[in-house]
């Protein structure tokens, strides 16, 4: 019984958190993009920015809603399924999640309402401020989640008293070097997600020959940003590898597919690891590169999985393949963004249909990269929930029955499938219809002005300042 409740709870956590992460990673980047658009519009008075803002705001609304509701589940799941973990590590994880809620959720939620419904009720500068506050909120939320998760990856600044964690040094917890390589890694991933979704949408319109002005802006801003961020992401990806190498050697060995100690070590590019025989099949590897990647030298000794007792090893297949899929996505994105940015700079992008197709069809890559990156991090941490201190098997609610766990897993799967199906269908419809569709227009008071191409900023500001029609 205990084993199945454990397995079901792990599946449930993996499922709910994977579902959840899709939406924040989309909305973190999107909130920043909206802030930039609104600021550009206020500064330049250029109508296309405003049209794009209103358009992406709808999509943001749907994605943000899905992120909020699936996030509430996470806040309670620690207690429902992992009561031993929350009892033992509550003194550290609880305050961190409290900070997340205090600094981020309240900020996001209050200003999200203004963003969606309040344009006619507040002054333009306050509206821009609200947009920026939503963006700040999503970023802060990501920060605290990364602090919390990084502490579970590499626990620091604690003492164990009566079997529970007691924080001894919050400075170490907050300013752990692990946090400061993982938080930027996640933030860059979120910005890349936003950039690729925006560029892909621009490419879609360019292919259909619609919304030319908006499509131009989306393609350029998306691809240029991605072309700058992708090399930077490689740097932070490498820094992540360094902390794993130093602090989580078993995870590192699993990701590298290294079963035995090697000196100098080879780098396995591709293989099919065979856990039963503790070796790789069909391996393609490059000699010495493993030592360079792992130890920054030509002859460092890199340790293998067999150094660890079987009970202390992570599963190999998921981290090994997930990592390679993530890197593969990065590589394709780099090619697309590099070529796209080059052609855009030359002014030839819109005529290059193959590349537009490629850009359009790569909107899923950042999502896949984020999910597989998290699979690598989380599955690679096993069998520990707090690395090296608390095993996942000891963290579960002791009296949780397999039946109760199965019920909740089925309920979450059913509800999430249901809302995901409709949510993506609505987002697809919004994207397909594009910026100028009648449904996607702002309050009536502003509509007549928006439809003209005259950019009389002062008039626009007056219209925005006046209360919407019918407001007492």
């Amino acid at each position: 019984m205990a084993v199945s409740a454990l397995l079901l709870s792990r599946l449930q956590f993996a499922f709910t958190v994977s579902f959840h992460i899709i939406f924040p990673s989309f909305s973190i980047g999107l909130a920043m993009w909206l802030t930039v658009l609104e600021a550009l519009h206020l500064a330049s008075g250029h109508q296309a920015y405003r049209v794009l803002f209103e358009f992406w705001l709808k999509i943001f609304g749907v994605a943000f809603g899905l992120g909020v509701v699936s996030g509430i589940v996470m806040a309670f799941q620690f207690g429902t399924n992992w009561s031993e973990l929350s009892r033992i590590s509550g003194p550290i994880q609880g305050p961190l999640l409290s900070y997340e809620t205090f600094t981020a959720f309240a900020l996001e939620a209050a200003f999200f309402g203004i963003l969606m419904f309040g344009r006619s009720r507040v002054r333009p500068w306050f509206y821009l401020f609200s947009t920026a506050m939503v963006a700040l909120g999503t970023t802060l939320s990501a920060f605290w989640i990364m602090v919390n998760n990084s502490w579970m990856q590499v626990p620091v600044g604690y003492a164990l008293e009566h079997g529970t964690f007691v924080p001894t040094d919050w400075f170490k917890i907050l300013f752990s070097p692990v946090v400061w390589v993982r938080f930027p890694h996640m933030l860059l991933a979120a910005y890349l997600t936003g950039a690729f979704c925006v560029a892909a949408t621009g490419a879609w319109y360019a292919l259909r020959g619609r919304f030319t002005a908006e499509s131009r802006i989306m393609l350029r801003m998306g691809l240029y940003l991605a072309a700058i961020l992708l090399p930077l992401q490689l740097v932070f990806g490498h820094l992540n590898g360094e902390y794993i190498h130093d602090d989580q050697p078993a995870k590192f060995a699993a990701v590298e597919g290294r079963w035995h100690d090697e000196q100098p070590a080879a780098e396995v590019l591709f293989a099919i690891p065979d856990p039963a025989r503790e070796r790789n099949r069909f391996a393609i590897s490059i000699p010495v590169l493993g030592s360079i990647v792992g130890g920054m030298s030509l002859d460092s000794k890199e340790i293998g999985l067999t150094d660890f007792a079987a009970a202390d090893r992570p599963p190999v297949l998921i981290p090994f393949f997930a990592f390679r899929v993530m890197v593969g996505c990065w590589l394709i994105m780099l090619v697309v963004a590099g070529a796209g940015a080059y052609l855009a700079a030359k002014g030839r992008l819109e005529r290059n249909r193959p590349l537009l197709w490629l850009t359009f069809s790569s909107f899923g890559l950042p999502f896949i990269a984020i999910l597989t990156g998290w699979f690598t991090a989380e599955v690679g941490r096993q069998p520990w929930v707090v690395y090296g201190v608390v095993r996942t098997a000891d963290a579960i609610t002791p009296f949780l029955t397999a039946r109760a766990a199965a019920i909740s897993l089925v309920v979450y799967c059913a509800i999430y499938t249901f809302i995901f199906t409709f949510g993506t269908a609505y987002i697809y419809r919004l994207l397909r219809d594009g910026p100028a569709a009648p449904r996607a227009l702002p309050p009536p008071a502003v509509v007549p002005h928006l439809l003209t191409s005259v950019s009389d900023e002062r008039h626009m500001a007056d219209v925005l300042r006046a209360p919407a029609g019918g407001q007492p």
Partner: protein, 327 residues
């Protein structure tokens, strides 16, 4: 420090009950509306603020996690199914706001999920409070009741009671925010809902006396608790008068005051226990280092959160303009 976090927790829970109480109530009343126009008005009355309101549930949850981890882990795991159903309800009603607006043919699905989700979430909250009042089966600080240990007639009664209470808050909110048909319907609903709430309180006291619930002794030991029903009675009178005179402002405040009085009575009855009568506040509290670290958030950020909430409520004050306010 423990006292500080206890106060912050109690304030957050009260804010949650009052704010999400009215929008869950509006959600349930939404199920009664038959045509599109009133439905749109009802949804617009809560659409810009529901997310902020619901955040207070997470606020209370994480304060419990951070400051009183023992209570958090015990309650969440003991209430496995009620928490699951509450979350399912909150998800279905939360997505309904945006989805219903985007939907064309399936608009009825999201109307139904809005009403049903609100009901299930409210009902489960009431069930959990009821089970807590009745006393959860705990032994040596560990929950021993099994998957359905929380289930009982008293808990179910409290589930229905809270739904009626939230519906009353919701009706009072609609009176404030809406005009025309919705306002008139809400005014008609307030008297029967008020009577139902009163009836529920009487039945709960009756059951508690019948079952000799330990919590009742508190009322004998602490006679000052009687101030709570007195406040509630005063608020109910003003509520009745303002409904009679069709004054849109006061009913919500009076319903909220009644709720606050009930909440205060409950909180004082629990003291010094957090889970009556097995885990005390001191036993549940996190180590000093955790509470001290959180203190910064409590002293500096908590007031900011109150300001955000107030800002949002101020920006969206006044009557909703039917149908034109969404985008």
């Amino acid at each position: 420090m423990i006292a500080f976090w206890l106060v912050i927790l109690a304030v957050s829970m009260l804010i949650y009950v009052l704010l999400d109480g009215f929008d869950l109530g509006v959600g349930m009343l939404f199920g009664l509306a038959r045509t599109e126009q009133p439905r749109l008005s009802m949804m617009s009355a809560v659409a810009p603020i529901w997310d902020g309101n619901e955040t207070w549930l997470v606020v209370a949850g994480v304060i419990l996690f951070g400051a009183f981890p023992l209570v958090y882990s015990t309650l969440m795991s003991a209430f496995y199914l009620p928490v699951l159903l509450m979350l399912a309800g909150l998800i279905l009603r939360g997505v309904a706001f945006e989805f219903r607006h985007q939907a064309k043919r399936t608009r009825w699905v999201w109307g139904a999920s809005f009403a049903a989700g609100s009901f299930v979430a409210a009902f489960m909250q009431g069930v959990m409070v009821g089970a807590l009042v009745e006393g959860l089966p705990l032994s040596g600080g560990r929950y021993v009741g099994g998957t359905l240990g929380w289930l009982g007639p008293f808990a179910l009664l409290c589930g229905f009671g809270l739904c009626v209470g939230y519906a009353l808050l919701g009706a009072c909110w609609l009176v404030r925010k809406c005009e025309g048909e919705v306002r008139a319907a809400a005014y008609r609903l307030i008297p029967p809902l008020s009577v139902a709430v009163l009836g529920f309180v009487i039945i709960v006291f009756g059951v508690a006396l019948e079952e000799h619930l330990l919590i009742l002794n508190r009322w004998l030991e602490r006679p000052y608790l009687l101030i709570c029903p007195v406040i509630a009675a005063g608020a109910a009178i003003i509520l009745a008068v303002s409904v009679r005179r069709r004054r849109d402002g006061p009913p919500f405040y009076m319903a909220a005051l009644t709720f606050a009085a009930a909440f205060g009575a409950l909180a004082i009855s629990f003291w010094p226990y957090m889970i009556p009568f097995s885990i005390t506040i001191d036993e549940a509290a996190a180590p000093r280092a955790s509470l001290a670290f959180m203190l910064w958030a409590g002293v500096f950020v908590f007031p900011l959160m109150l300001i955000y909430t107030a800002t949002s409520l101020t920006v969206f004050r006044g009557k909703v303009a039917t149908a034109t306010d969404h985008y």
